[in-house]
Symmetry: C2
Subunit: 516 residues, 2 copies
């Protein structure tokens, strides 16, 4: 665009605006005699990128579920007695109990007078003292450093070193965050630049967790879809990554590759070999890697194991470990603790340019600091009771019970769903969800299309209305054209999960019959 064009464009814009901008505000008299002014902020004048944001996990189906709950509580008759929200990985809401030790320490930090209460175990007290000593004025009510409390970041670094078999971790590379979402959005924000064909593109898996598509829409970045291979248990294929990248290079500037492992919504656990391939691909194609590893303790299937991207990167030697830029994300919300409400999390950044890091530190300082109780909780997650400490046995018992139950429920879900004709479910190797493929009869697809709905949204809405079960349609996460899925958490207590699965089965059979 040359200078002349720019001027012309500016003049046009000015002239089209002059009526409203130079004149008086638009006003008209309403019936009751009040001058009604046109609103400043309307759907036509709102930030257009905000309009593009979608977030299925809390979309229309969940709003309807909340309405149904209200109607039930008002005594309205429904074909079910309760709404079961299997739409979101919200462990405590599903009855999972918090880890006692964590909550004891949080109570002590909240109200330090309890430190003289002899019913609290000594290790909880000493942990609370240590956290409080790192807080300004020894209070969780103080702001922390914007990057997070120093001692917590040190504990995170030591945790990562233990997890990754000794690969070194610098606390300076750790940023505590308000849940993992905050870290992911912040990293994406740094990466977005350019306009038109030079606009930043970010590769995300399809199916994906819709935080990614929502954040990219809001930032005005280009979403580049690569498909997971459903036939190979949702694994990543390098040729598919290459296809997506090559196509995207025609219209944007691909700069980052996001991976969710263990997978959300798809529940797969990527193999070490696959991760190596992905790292090689990112190195070759100069892509910034973003590894969403919030389900790192949620691995259930035999033969599956969590491999952090960082560990694999460092084991591949300096050609990779000294060059590939990586951000990895963790959270207090998942794994065995499921403490979503505290909004704790961290990110580790590897090989980030020092000037960029300074910009990141500046950027996070504007929001002052992540919530301190969430930081305290993150500290407990990375530094739980040790052998010999009074709370060790009960901690291990509670953690094991939760993770075993999840493993059992993962298997149960897969098994039951696969008994239903028209439902086919990959093993839930990890994370907290099953993402089965469902066959939707032609007639139902037609009816949905006529109603302007995605067929799996139509299916899930019907299930909600008839059974009270709230699932998220696959279309909210993305899926191959012509395939349909839903995401269901495996979190309900085993007894309830069995009932839920039976209801899903029954509904699917009825639905199929109705539309055949």
């Amino acid at each position: 665009m040359n200078h002349g064009t720019a001027l012309l464009w500016k003049r046009r814009a000015l002239s089209s605006l002059s009526a409203t901008r130079r004149g008086l505000p638009k006003e008209k008299m309403t019936e009751n005699g009040v001058m009604s002014r046109a609103k400043v902020l309307t759907i036509d004048t709102i930030n257009p990128t905000v309009k593009k944001v979608e977030y299925a996990v809390r979309g229309p189906i969940v709003q309807r579920a909340v309405e149904l709950e209200r109607e039930l509580s008002q005594g309205m008759k429904k074909p079910f007695a309760e709404v079961i929200k299997a739409n979101i990985g919200d462990a405590h809401a599903m009855g999972q109990q918090p880890i006692t030790f964590f909550r004891q320490v949080l109570a002590l930090c909240s109200y330090p007078e309890l430190l003289s209460d002899n019913t609290f175990p000594e290790d909880a007290k000493s942990r609370a003292c240590r956290i409080l000593q790192s807080c300004g004025g020894h209070s969780m009510g103080s702001y922390s450093a914007s990057q997070g409390i120093d001692s917590v970041r040190k504990d995170v670094a030591r945790y990562i070193e233990r997890r990754d078999g000794g690969v070194p971790c610098d606390p300076d590379d750790i940023y505590l965050t308000t849940g993992a979402s905050d870290g992911i959005v912040t990293m994406l924000k740094l990466l977005v630049s350019g306009e038109g064909a030079t606009r930043t593109g970010v590769m995300i898996s399809i199916p994906q967790y819709p935080l990614y598509s929502a954040a990219l829409a809001e930032l005005g970045a280009v979403q580049i879809n690569y498909y997971l291979n459903e036939d190979k248990c949702w694994s990543m294929d390098i040729p598919e990554l290459q296809r997506a990248l090559d196509e995207a290079r025609e219209y944007c500037n691909p700069r980052a590759l996001c991976i969710i492992n263990p997978g959300n919504p798809t529940g797969q656990v990527q193999s070490r070999e696959c991760i190596e391939d992905v790292i090689r691909f990112a190195a070759k194609e100069r892509l910034f890697l973003m590894a969403d590893e919030v389900y790192q303790d949620n691995v259930y299937a035999d033969g599956c194991q969590f491999h952090s991207f960082k560990k694999v990167l460092f084991e591949m030697g300096p050609e990779y470990s000294e060059t590939v830029e990586l951000a990895s994300f963790h959270s207090t919300s998942k794994c065995y603790m499921g403490e979503c409400g505290f909004r704790g999390g961290y990110m580790e950044i590897i090989n980030m340019d020092n000037e960029v890091k300074a910009q990141l530190t500046k950027l996070v300082s504007v929001r002052l600091c992540p919530p301190v109780p969430g930081q305290a909780l993150m500290d407990l997650v990375v530094n739980p009771p040790q052998p010999g400490e009074p709370s060790y046995d009960s901690f291990i018992k509670e953690r094991t019970a939760t993770l075993s139950a999840l493993a059992e429920k993962a298997k149960l879900t897969e098994q039951v769903l696969n008994t239903v004709q028209g439902i086919s479910c990959n093993p839930v190797q990890g994370a907290m969800y099953s993402f089965p493929r469902i066959t939707i009869p032609e007639k139902a697809v037609k009816e949905a299309t006529e109603q302007g709905q995605q067929p799996d949204m139509f299916y899930c809405m019907k299930m909600l209305e008839e059974t009270g079960i709230c699932l998220v349609p696959g279309s909210g996460f993305g899926q191959k054209d012509g395939t349909y899925h839903f995401r269901m958490t495996i979190l309900p207590p085993t007894d309830k999960l069995k009932i839920l699965l039976d209801k899903v089965k029954e509904f699917h059979q009825k639905f199929t019959q109705q539309y055949s």
Copy 2:
């Protein structure tokens, strides 16, 4: 820009990129034989709006303060024994004690086993039970609704009604937030649209709280400065608002007007009359009002009173109350509680278009929910112990003690600073800061300029190095050209504040002498 121009522009962009985008990544061999790849994310390729962000409250001077603290702790000799961070409104870090009742309830919510502990007062227990009953699975570890816990929003609405003498408040208009900052940034995000001469402009006071300039820079919106009148105790002048607006209309589309009352960094409390004038101005000029009212309980000066924008708006009759769009922000971080670390807050939106509200609700759902402990705390702030409840007396005693001490310190600060020749300080009518004007000798201005520093940054850096006192230079908040200021919190305990003020006095005299 016509189609041909767009194509040409796209082709140029593609061709300039083709070397890196089509060829292999840039590589070179380093000394130790590792192929060094150019980084994906560098200061040249980072999001350009991020680079523009500045945030003085945690800027270079605070980084130096942290370094000095470290050096002191390592035994290095300094001309002072401790660093006093008077740069930020961080009450607990300055030794202010939390409200006992609030922390008791938070401890009970964190570890509900304590509900059977008889040392806790009954009202704290019943309040904790009520909060937990509103949480999924009765746990603060569950996600809440994205807009915030229903019962908390109801309590907020009742609080606002009491505060505003019965003006009605709909809980549906309340959004709980992660501190006030979160709400402010979210509202600004909704308002930003257009390009070039149609780009959204937002009016902010100068001096301002730098969250505003930082958020506007990040969002790529146009910052429109209106100056507060220092000679009239930092009041708002309508002619000055008009001047700023008229000038801005030449190059952007002004859509919102932000007010901080009580003022940060300037400590003024706006009169009812002034607020009326501002509302009339916003109505006439069709501006969305954003009222930052986080210091609503921090009013000290005789004859001053906090008037909420909402109350004044409603008292001005339907011509205003039914048309002017307003968002008002509050927080758990300030007032008498000072619970910054919990990141609690709310915003109330008035006269927002329904479609816009749906977009807002969708937007906040992407981040799932504000931290639940912060929501719980917000609930306690808006619903504290009532007369007749066991904790009422101690609550009132603690609150009064904190607010009286603040009032005393506000007066003390003004008085001592005004005894110094070359420092002139408006009354600290409210909030938590003094923002005195300082005379900086020509010689010092020259030396600062030679070093590429703002003169008041030069002054504050010197003060930090010589006295250990960390203040924020006025240039970080904006000020009239040729005037210099600093922001200092009044939060240190009275004894310490006295020492601090004496040191400031002594430093200023020495500095003036040195550069005269």
